[in-house]
């Protein structure tokens, strides 16, 4: 099975519920400099029309052909077979930053403590247990959804998948 976490910007308001749910799920200690794996942004084009803005919720795209996995020299990063999420086996990380330097979205980060990679695991354990990823579960507006392969292909046929997500899932 392969799951896709989809983001629908027209429903987002950058409230950060997803970001906080991620912190709650992953015990993120922001007081000591840690960051959650999902973040929200409210961007305004200073040269654009009055009132125009974009709300975004950003995390790992779990690319089908993930550059971070390809760039990882140790096999620490891989595609989790039962869900298709991009996961890290932290014991194998050597802190070489190859994944971060390969990721087109600048997603992987490194622990200030052990220097090893920190990234979203798509809540693959929750998915495997029939639960939604924490961020998706927390979105009250339907701006984040999680779909399986069949639903993803159906949405793709209906042109309901963003260009970016199509691009990173070409070979899914």
């Amino acid at each position: 099975m392969r799951y896709y976490i989809l983001f629908h910007p027209e429903k987002c308001c950058a409230c950060g519920a997803c970001a906080v749910a991620c912190m709650d799920q992953n015990d993120v200690d922001v007081q000591h400099g840690e960051k959650g794996y999902r973040a929200v942004y409210e961007y305004e084009d200073a040269g654009g029309a009055m009132g125009e803005c974009t709300y975004l919720s950003i995390s790992c795209r779990h690319c089908a052909d993930a550059p971070c996995v390809a760039g990882c020299p140790t096999g620490c990063l891989s595609k989790e077979p039962s869900t298709g999420m991009t996961v890290a086996e932290r014991s194998r990380c050597i802190g070489c930053h190859s994944c971060a330097m390969a990721c087109p979205f600048g997603i992987p980060r490194f622990s200030a403590g052990d220097g090893k990679v920190l990234k979203c695991d798509g809540c693959f354990v929750r998915l495997a247990c029939g639960l939604q990823p924490a961020c998706v579960r927390a979105c009250a507006f339907g701006a984040l959804t999680c779909v399986d392969e069949a639903e993803f292909r159906r949405l793709e046929e209906n042109h309901a998948i963003s260009a970016m997500l199509r691009a990173v899932n070409q070979t899914g």
Binding site: Y41, D45, I94, G95, C96, P104, G106
Partner: protein, 423 residues
């Protein structure tokens, strides 16, 4: 049902085998390896020497036998190929044994380059490429070293210096070039890296090559082109690599500095593909033939070669010449041609990292980024898109991604992005 040969079993060879097996489940796949070990990642050797990983971890894809079982390969271990008769699709071993195939993937990799240096002793001079090289240096380090000279301020040179630093070995890095990563750095950026290295206690000696060596009571005396001399207990030569193409005939198959392939990873000989360090593909920014020896490139090329050999039609996006280094607490990324002329932009972030751009006709032709690993990927992605003829303007998402990674608005504008005001 085809019968295929893969020459060499590193990252490219592995991925070629895997792709072949996936696309042609019934085929017979023969793999020839110089060694009895699994595909080793050369990048990991210095981590092993530094004591950060176990020897086993040098083989992230597993052992040879294990992989052969999983992918149903016919393995020829410790069987160096003497000659590949490309047009006939024939592989010949040292003992004269010959085998004919439907198609071949060349994945022979590269060797550490050891130029002739007068007086170079056999002992205490090392290179760094294979697990065997790493074993040798580590063994020597464990016996105790009081000083080391690393010749070659390349990526490997820095990583070797980092490993020696981890063992508290006083180290000097020397290079004929005037600065570190000479093919990637802009002079001011190199200056900053030099300062940081010297602050850490690493000696630097640029602008002079080694002209000769002698044994001396303290170990080795290296003599440089400017007349200076340096004593060290060991010398590590990090002068780059050379594609392993000895088994090929230049008359038969097109070879530059490495085997030349088209975007389908096929060589000039039909049915013969090449992948990894032994081949060179078109570089995206310059359009020239170039090998860009990265683990990820090798994997991708291997996969495409394997896939296309089995009748697929996949295209390799091309190499982007870039240098990425994480060593001694620094992240350096150099993209593009560092000799290009153009408008210079420098941004120094309050957090300590810096970004330098050379722009021509409004587009960056060279990027140096020091100290921000998260910005490298997004920046590369944007440059690649623009190089491939994509829209010059950045999408909202791209602008946001760059902003998020710390890119200042003025540089985002230069790259064609909107003027974003953060929330």
């Amino acid at each position: 049902m085809g019968k295929y040969a893969i020459i060499g079993f590193g990252c490219a060879g592995y991925h070629a085998a895997k792709a072949l097996r996936e696309r042609a489940p019934e085929s017979r796949i023969h793999v020839y390896s110089d060694t009895g070990e699994g595909p080793a990642n050369p990048m990991l050797t210095t981590y092993y020497v530094a004591g950060k990983i176990s020897r086993e971890a040098l083989f992230p894809l597993g052992g040879q036998a294990e992989i052969a079982r999983a992918l149903d390969l016919e393995l020829h271990a410790c069987a160096p190929v003497q000659r590949v008769w490309a047009r006939e699709h024939v592989v010949e071993l040292a003992d004269g044994w010959r085998e004919n195939y439907d198609g071949i993937v060349l994945a022979t990799g590269s060797h550490a380059l050891v130029p002739p240096i007068p007086g170079r002793p056999e002992k205490d001079v090392y290179v760094m490429r294979t697990p065997g090289d790493a074993d040798a240096l580590l063994k020597r380090i464990k016996r105790g070293i009081s000083s080391a000279l690393v010749i070659g301020a390349s990526w490997v040179g820095i990583k070797v210096a980092e490993a020696l630093y981890a063992h508290q070995v006083p180290t000097v890095i020397a290079d004929m070039a005037p600065r570190i990563f000479p093919t990637a750095t802009l002079p001011e950026v190199a200056e900053e890296i030099h300062t940081r290295l010297e602050t850490m206690g690493i000696g630097l000696k640029f602008g002079c090559g080694v002209s000769a060596m002698d044994r001396s009571p303290a170990g080795i005396l290296s003599r440089f082109s400017d007349g200076s001399e340096l004593q060290s207990e060991i010398v590590v030569l990090c002068l780059g690599v050379r594609a392993a193409v000895e088994c090929l005939d230049r008359e038969e198959i097109q070879i530059g500095r490495a085997v030349q392939v088209n975007e389908r990873m096929e060589t000039s000989v039909s049915g013969v593909y090449a992948a990894g360090d032994c081949c060179e593909a078109r570089e995206l920014l310059t359009g020239q033939w170039m090998a860009v020896n990265l683990w990820a490139n090798a994997g991708m090329q291997g996969r495409i070669a394997g896939c296309n050999l089995a009748g697929g039609d996949e295209v390799y996006q091309g190499n982007l010449l870039h240098n990425i280094t994480h060593a001694l607490g620094m992240d350096f990324i150099g993209i593009g041609d560092n000799r290009a002329e153009g408008r210079r932009l420098t941004y120094r972030a309050p957090e300590g990292w810096r970004l330098d751009l050379v722009c021509r006709e409004g587009r960056p032709v060279c990027v140096n980024l020091l100290g921000n690993e998260g910005l490298s990927g997004p920046l590369k992605a944007v440059l690649l898109k623009q190089t491939k003829g994509g829209p010059a303007a950045l999408s909202t998402e791209e602008s946001v991604t760059l902003t998020r990674a710390g890119m200042p608005p003025e540089i985002i504008r230069t790259l064609g992005g909107a003027k974003y005001a953060d929330a």
